[in-house]
């Protein structure tokens, strides 16, 4: 019986440069590099102290949590437009429970998280069982939850609960003198958990499989329907959690909170190197994406002379850069003529 040795190199040698461009990890490397460069620039120009990176995490903690949820959905090739509305809804629900109904904070938090997960579950079922396109299903979710928030409370509900206030002000000191907030810690924990789930559980690998080739995943006997619905429920849960973190930030329940946040989350995910087509990407990338966006805002506000609209233009330009980069990564193999 002959033992054949197979060379791992493909038949026609691919130039190193092309292979580099085709590596799906390229965008995340570029993001990290960009972050470092930007930070160095900012540090040089505005003398960042060690609290600055911590502040980055603190000020963007809610977006990090939401972006994690968005990452799961986008990894399966879907999209979730309801994130911002669920965040707003969660803050309102929290405000109602804690302030108006004097529910203990812990219990209120649980209710909110369950509500978020259920909302996501609902959208997931619509997407999976009725084949409503994710865009439309989550768009309906966007309207539904935002509308529900406004119906529950027209105005902002201040939360004066002592527990909430003390959590919001709680500082976790880091070696070196800097400190983190509870929100930032939650964000980091969520990221760590997400990394674990995506890379060390069967469920996580199935998420990647579905994004890679849903047809194949089905034929390989994977529980595709269950996984897809679970992913949207997870995103709903993360949006709710993000809402809770946001409450710590604004200390109130605001039905107009987080309008448009889903787009920030999606932008962060894209900048972080996750492909919108699914199957490729890392949660760490999304974290980096949020930090990049946050750093841009910090630099621009520190600059002082630049106006806030440059943030938008800057973010748009960055998006453009990364998308074109992604195209070079995935665009190989268009063998047909124009």
């Amino acid at each position: 019986m002959t033992t054949a040795k197979i060379d791992a190199r493909p038949a026609a040698p691919v130039p190193v440069w092309t292979r580099l461009l085709r590596d799906p990890r390229l965008p995340i490397v570029v993001t990290a590099a960009l972050l470092v460069v930007m930070y160095a620039y900012g540090s040089y120009r505005y003398s960042f102290d060690q609290q600055v990176p911590a502040n980055l995490l603190i000020n963007n903690s809610y977006l990090i949590v939401a972006a994690v949820g968005a990452t799961f959905v986008i990894l399966t090739g879907g999209i979730d437009l309801s994130i911002g509305s669920l965040v707003g809804f969660s803050t309102v629900l929290t405000g109602l429970l804690v302030t108006k109904n004097h529910v203990p904070v812990g219990l209120a938090a649980v209710v909110v998280l369950v509500a978020g997960a259920l909302g996501g579950l609902l959208m997931g079922c619509m997407i999976q069982y009725f084949r409503v396109p994710p865009f439309i299903a989550t768009l309906a979710g966007l309207f539904l939850f935002r509308g529900l928030s406004l119906m529950l409370s027209k105005e902002s509900i201040p939360i004066n609960d002592k527990t909430v206030a003390s959590i919001a002000q709680f500082h976790i000191s880091l070696p070196g003198g800097a400190f983190l907030s509870v929100g930032a810690t939650v964000a980091l924990v969520v990221v760590a958990l997400a990394v674990f789930v995506l890379h060390y559980t069967r469920f996580g690998r199935q998420v990647y499989a579905i994004g890679g080739n849903e047809q194949s995943a089905l034929l390989m006997g994977l529980p595709v329907a269950r996984t897809k619905i679970a992913v949207y429920a997870l995103s709903g849960f993360c949006s709710a959690l993000s809402g809770l973190v946001f409450v710590l930030y604004i200390q109130s329940g605001d039905p107009r909170a987080a309008i448009g946040m889903e787009l920030d989350a999606i932008a962060a995910v894209v900048i972080g190197g996750t492909l919108l087509t699914g199957g490729f990407g890392y949660v760490l990338g999304s974290l980096l994406g949020v930090l990049v966006i946050g750093l841009i805002k910090t630099i621009i506000s520190d600059e002082g002379t630049l106006s806030s609209w440059w943030i938008k233009i800057g973010t748009g330009a960055l998006l453009l850069l990364f998308i074109l980069l992604q195209r070079t990564v995935t665009a190989r193999g268009t063998r047909t003529t124009r």
């Binding site: 060390y200 069967r202 690998r205 199935q206 499989a209 390989m220 063998r335 047909t336």
Partner: protein, 511 residues
């Protein structure tokens, strides 16, 4: 090494679809440890039989017995659980994951909920080595060529049931496994297959590459037009006999439809020199004169479609040059350029590449002509209606309703709609890829008559068909392809027989 009792026995299998009877009373049996070839041309029923076996389709009549016990296979997953694993030509794996992940997807080695990657990778490496392969299981599957991906799919398929304590894979179906492999890769695959044989796995080898079948298979079953026409030991049937069985030809002259002498006018309509595309078709030369009908003969996968697509500009050639009507066409130019110079192309896969299913018959018919005119010059409605009505009548498109949705028509009528579309553009060269596939006998004849009349009007035709009798009937000359190379150009005449063509095809199968 066949034992006495078949591991799989299918009896009297029939499957009916709305337009066609795909399988009629097919019997099939498979013994453990044998490599069994399933042969047949397009439309013969191979794919349907496989899909019935793997639970994609429900059979209408007949029984399936696995190890003597009757079974009703309800889904691909069920088939897998019973021990019937399939590796498809498309390699249904996830290219974004690693080799080890793909092998164990859904059943990774875990302690509790946590996946143990080191153990998973180690076991994957062991499995892979047991097949005699050296693959880095930590590498991304997509970074490997298709040949390797296929082998990984086989490793997964064979190992699938062992871990669950079930019986293990009894039947491994390989659907066209060598279509995209080169010689060396085929050797490796055969090595793996031989190992499986000695392990007692029954391998069902679906392919059309005759030389490979003669090398690796023990027994073969031939299907034609939904019926089983023969089951033979490979050693008992020679190549020519096999081809004859598949194509159903008697060794006799075929009647020629043409009533008059058609000499090519000499004006070269198409001139291709060294036109080729890596991995698709070897560089070829092809000259077609006005009014000439050139047939392309060869088995599935021999490169006929690829040749046609290069000529039309649907795919980009890597080498060579193309001149149409005396004017050169850039290799990078797309279909618009060739269409404007007078080439028309009816693709083989009408659903995916031909029709716009949601548009009406009328819209589909006028599409190419309209595209050539540009968006600003619409074809006047009366003219369009008149032309469409004329073609509906001429080609007997049913239902004769120009506003019917094209996707709702039967395959034959869809083909006619496509033909109408292209003939409307008054092409100099009409490329037809399997125009009569899946069409009833009457329509087949109509289409062939149409080709003859077009040729009489000075239109050249490049005619691809698996039906040799059609090719012989219509062509002035016949290009023979095998294994992605144009190997011969035979002038058609009273002396050329189907047998000779088959010999050319079959002979090429010997390495």
């Amino acid at each position: 090494m066949a034992e006495d009792f078949p591991v799989l026995r299918m009896t009297g299998i029939s499957k009916q679809f709305p337009a066609v009877r795909a399988l009629s009373g097919v019997d099939f049996r498979l013994y453990p440890g044998e490599v069994h070839a399933l042969l047949g041309e397009n439309g013969a029923g191979k794919s349907t039989l496989i899909k019935v076996l793997t639970g994609v389709y429900e059979l209408d009549e007949g029984t399936v017995e696995l190890d003597g016990a009757p079974v009703r296979i309800t889904s691909p997953h069920h088939a897998q659980q019973l021990g019937i694993s399939t590796v498809y030509q498309e390699v249904n794996l996830c290219p974004n994951l690693t080799v080890a992940e793909n092998i164990f997807l859904g059943r990774e080695r875990t302690s509790g909920p946590v996946v143990r990657w080191r153990r998973t990778r180690r076991e994957a490496a062991t499995l892979v080595a047991a097949f005699g392969l050296e693959i880095d299981v930590s590498a991304q599957l997509g970074s490997y060529p298709l040949a390797i991906q296929q082998l990984v799919a086989i490793v997964r398929a064979v190992d699938l049931n062992r871990a669950d304590g079930a019986a293990g894979t009894k039947v491994l179906i390989l659907d066209e496994p060598t279509s995209s492999l080169d010689q060396d890769e085929v050797e490796v695959l055969f090595g793996v297959i031989r190992r499986l044989k000695s392990a007692g796995v029954a391998v069902l080898f679906v392919s059309h590459f005759l030389d490979q079948i003669y090398r690796i298979c023990d027994r073969m079953t031939v299907l034609r037009n939904g019926r089983m026409v023969g089951e033979h030991m490979v050693a008992d049937l020679d190549r020519v006999g096999l081809v004859r069985l598949m194509l159903g030809r008697e060794l006799q002259q075929l009647e020629e439809l043409r009533e008059h002498d058609r000499t090519a006018t000499g004006e070269t309509v198409l001139h291709a020199a060294g036109l080729g595309r890596r991995g698709s078709i070897a560089p070829f030369d092809l000259d077609i004169s006005a009014g000439e009908v050139v047939g392309l003969a060869g088995l599935l996968g021999s490169g006929r479609t690829e040749l046609a697509r290069l000529v039309f500009g649907a795919d980009q050639a890597d080498s060579g040059e193309l001149t149409v009507g005396g004017k050169p066409v850039s290799r990078r130019a797309g279909p618009q350029a060739t269409i404007s110079r007078g080439i028309a192309f009816c693709p083989e896969n009408r659903r995916a590449e031909g029709l716009i299913p949601d548009l009406t018959v009328r819209e589909n018919i006028i599409l190419a002509m309209q595209a050539a005119r540009g968006w600003a010059r619409p074809i006047p409605r009366e003219t369009a209606d008149r032309l469409v009505a004329r073609y509906i009548a001429a080609l007997d498109i049913r239902p004769a309703d120009p506003e019917a949705t094209a996707g709702s028509l039967s395959g034959g009528n869809q083909q006619k709609v496509l033909l109408a579309r292209w003939i409307l553009t008054s092409p100099k060269l009409l490329v037809l890829d399997e125009p009569t596939r899946g069409i009833d006998v009457g329509a087949k004849a109509e289409i062939q008559k149409l080709v003859v009349s077009l040729a009489g009007d000075g239109v050249s035709v490049l005619y691809i068909s698996a039906e040799l009798d059609e090719v012989l009937r219509l062509s002035d000359s016949i290009g023979v392809l095998r294994d992605r190379t144009l190997v011969a150009r035979l002038t058609n005449g009273p002396d050329l027989t189907a047998d000779q063509i088959m010999q050319t095809i079959a002979r090429g199968a010997q390495s």
